[in-house]
């Protein structure tokens, strides 16, 4: 019995943690020196490879046991200082556990949706319908040169309807619906394009493009036609504000700057305010639709991961403070009381 306890004591000791961590560092550094994308390779294999999963899981279990023992010792030492010492390790442990669960058991999928689209991830029985989408776009957009990040400020959202409830889904944080987290990965305009010859419509539909914020240019092909179209939204008018010339865009009914290439030749360069004539074809752009790129993920480790990061970020400064105070406390105690000065 004592022997068993001894073995258990050894297995769950900090030494085991140290050696598992050292083994991982060794493996990772070896991979990164001799191959490329060591982390990518590790993550690629982790979901399926027991040789990686088992040591990772053992590391988490051993860390948890040591964590409990650490919590007890810290709380016994001082109730007041315990949070300073415990927050960061708690965060680190939760992060590790969440990361492992996410790697091993999460599933995700992405889908383009519009109003009326049905959403049903393969891991879920219940269907949801996109009952409404709200791009958050204003009728007019004034380009004030903000550049990137503008889309996030607009806060697009959509509503998933199912099971008698409606769930609002935005960009971040994701919304948990049943067991699945949803968020909007991207959204934008899908201009309507009609190609006809002598009044007969040959092709018609919406093309999903990245044109927002206005000023972005996007390209697409329309098979079987041998053309490459590139478009961007044209400003509707200009205005002077504070001495600056600003462009005002009509987002709801935009006009486009259009370049059409055939092979390496540019066969048309102009705007879409009137039908474009190319090789006897008439090309028209009409009122756009909107597209959303919705991502769904079933991830049992999500909350652990999220809280782990928060606690760790909050805990590191506290830990440093505690270490500084502790170092001050240790100073002056390093005297040997058993050492008399006389012989």
């Amino acid at each position: 019995m004592l022997k068993l306890r001894g073995i258990a004591w050894r297995i769950f000791s900090p030494s085991t943690m140290f050696w598992l961590l050292a083994a991982w560092v060794f493996m990772y550094a070896t991979l990164s020196i001799w191959t490329v994308e060591a982390f990518g390779k590790f993550m690629e294999r982790l979901p399926d490879d027991l040789l990686l999963q088992v040591p990772f899981a053992i590391f988490i279990i051993v860390s948890s046991v040591n964590y409990v023992s650490y919590v007890i010792s810290r709380v016994r030492a001082s109730w007041l200082s315990a949070p300073f010492w415990l927050l960061a390790p708690t965060g680190a442990l939760l992060f590790l556990a969440g990361f492992f669960m996410s790697a091993v058991s999460s599933e995700s999928g992405r889908i383009f949706v519009g109003t009326g689209s049905v959403v049903q991830p393969p891991w879920q029985d219940r269907q949801y319908v996109v009952s409404k989408i709200d791009t958050g776009l204003k009728d007019e957009f004034i380009d004030m040169g903000q550049g990137g990040g503008l889309i996030f400020k607009l806060s697009p959202r959509l509503f998933l309807q199912g099971g008698g409830q409606s769930h609002e889904v935005g960009i971040f944080p994701p919304t948990k619906v049943s067991s699945t987290y949803y968020h909007i990965m991207d959204f934008g305009l899908a201009p309507g394009v009609r190609i006809s010859r002598d009044g007969e419509v040959l092709k018609e539909g919406f093309v999903i493009q990245r044109l927002l914020p206005p000023g972005l240019r996007s390209s697409f092909d329309l098979s079987p036609f041998p053309y490459r179209f590139s478009i961007k939204i044209l400003p509707e008018r200009e205005m002077i504000k504070g001495g600056e010339k600003l462009h005002v865009y009509n987002i709801k009914k935009p006009a486009y700057s259009v370049v059409i290439e055939k092979g390496l030749d540019v066969v048309f360069e102009g705007d879409s305010t009137s039908p474009i004539e190319v090789d006897g074809l008439s090309i028209e752009f009409y009122e756009p639709d909107y597209w959303f790129w919705l991502e769904g993920s079933r991830n049992p480790g999500y909350m652990l991961l999220a809280y782990g990061i928060i606690l760790f970020a909050a805990g590191v400064p506290l830990l440093l403070i505690a270490m500084v105070f502790n170092a001050h406390g240790v100073q002056g105690r390093d005297k040997d009381p058993d050492l008399p000065l006389d012989g």
Partner: protein, 463 residues
């Protein structure tokens, strides 16, 4: 080749010889000091046999006709041996502070000799390969192999002889400074200060570790964001992205790199300073105990010296140039190109540049009166990637190179060289080109169309 260049090459060879001689000599010196008290000759022999094997590798590589792959292999091998040394040293510093190798045991089993033999071979083999390649290149430049190898010998042999003489006189005095941890740290220092070969060696430890840390942190954060469903940077506010970008940047990575390098030795110093003194039963008076305590302290201080030197050198390396080197991306100035009958032709090799050297090369040309930048680089599979110096997502700030990655200057995403030529994301936009034995040919229309589409798509316009 002129006399002046010849003299420089000869000087290089002599300096090289001195450095290699110092490396062999210092290891011999310390090892002799450690094993001097007992059966020295036998234990030195295993070390010398290992060095002899490495010398054999040096001769083999010098005589072989090899290409780029060997150079790449040598570079990785040198890095890996360095990692093995530092890793072992760190483990020992953190876990086995009190371990003395059984230097003074009279009898060593065969396996102990084999370990010493193998370790000395592994220690010197990468440098032997690198040296052979470097000296062969020097010999080609000098057009005289004899001159180069003679110069090497002139540098190598006197240093070795001097160290040998010094060893007989004073090697015994150094044994008190070395336990297992100190010996491993000494090997790390030897590699750090005298390691590698000119032309393709890492001259400093800090930038290398920093680059690795940067990549790891980037990948870890990116993976965590994937799990947390955080949108990619085009969807984030600039301020949010700048905050996240701090963790991808050089300040954060240098702090982590220094932690990795300095925590084990600093912890060792802390442990050795705060470890209680154990008194033997015979020390029953205060005077005896003070004597014991003084002896222990003296021994501890000696053991701290090599570790303190290591800390000092790493800190100095960081303070002087390490961080700067890792921070700065290699961003070459674009070389101007001229269109010729709707085509741009870039020679693969000119007196001033070699497109197949593994570094990024940038070119610029005018399209409708505006500047366009191209990026060329030889990928690890030896194929050439030819792209625009811009991606589809970020402003067209272009790319720099850091090791085996190109890094988007705007969003700091590292992109492996292997993936260049593939479209999408933060990868540089690939161009359709034709590559002959002598040059790269690109249709002007291909360049201008893709660049126009790119810069017109930016709200901020062209950069």
């Amino acid at each position: 080749m002129g006399n002046k260049e010849s003299i420089v090459l000869i000087q290089d060879s002599v300096v090289y010889g001195v450095r290699e001689g110092l490396k062999v000599g210092l290891l011999y010196f310390v090892w002799s000091g450690l094993v001097m008290q007992q059966i020295r000759g036998e234990k030195i022999r295993s070390l010398l046999v290992g060095i002899a094997f490495a010398f054999f590798v040096f001769l083999s590589v010098s005589l072989m006709d090899t290409g780029m792959v060997e150079k790449e292999f040598s570079y990785r091998l040198a890095g890996y041996v360095f990692f093995l040394l530092f890793f072992s040293a760190s483990v020992v510093l953190l876990r086995f502070q009190d371990v003395n190798i059984a230097w003074n045991q009279g009898y060593w089993p065969v396996w102990a000799h084999l370990i010493v033999l193998f370790a000395s071979f592994v220690f010197f083999a990468p440098d032997a390969i690198a040296s052979a390649i470097y000296l062969r290149e020097l010999a080609e430049l000098e057009q005289s192999a004899l001159g180069v190898y003679l110069s090497l010998g002139i540098g190598f042999i006197p240093v070795l002889m001097a160290v040998y003489l010094l060893t007989n006189r004073s090697a015994g005095r150094i044994s008190g400074f070395f336990g297992l941890a100190q010996f491993l740290i000494f090997l790390v220092l030897l590699k750090l200060l005298l390691g590698g070969a000119a032309g393709f060696a890492e001259s400093s430890l800090v930038p290398t570790v920093q680059r690795g840390v940067m990549k790891f942190v980037h990948d870890l954060i990116h993976q965590s964001f994937l799990y947390l469903l955080v949108p990619d940077h085009p969807m984030l506010k600039t301020s949010t992205w700048n905050f996240i970008g701090f963790f991808f940047g050089p300040d954060f990575s240098i702090a982590l790199a220094l932690c990795i390098l300095l925590v084990p030795p600093v912890y060792y110093l802390y442990a050795i300073i705060t470890a209680p003194v154990t008194y033997p039963d015979s020390a029953d008076t205060g005077a005896d105990r003070r004597l014991v305590r003084a002896e222990v302290r003296h021994q501890r201080i000696r053991r701290m010296v090599p570790i303190a030197v290591f800390i000092l050198i790493v800190t100095m390396s960081w303070y002087t140039s390490g961080s700067e080197k890792a921070m700065s991306l290699y961003v070459p100035e674009p070389k101007p190109l001229i269109e010729d009958k709707g085509m741009v032709i870039i020679p693969l090799s000119t007196p001033g540049a070699d497109l197949t050297d593994g570094k990024i090369h940038k070119f610029s040309l005018l399209v409708d009166g505006k500047g366009v930048r191209l990026l060329l680089v030889r990928k690890p599979d030896s194929s050439l990637a030819v792209t625009l110096d811009a991606c589809e997502i970020c402003p067209a700030d272009g790319y720099g190179q850091r090791g085996e990655h190109v890094v988007c200057i705007y969003c700091r995403t590292p992109i492996p060289l292997e993936t260049l030529g593939k479209p999408g994301g933060c990868n540089p936009i690939p161009l359709v080109v034709s590559i002959t034995d002598r040059d790269v040919r690109i249709q002007m229309a291909e360049i201008s169309n893709k660049w126009k589409l790119l810069v017109n798509s930016r709200p901020g316009g062209e950069k």
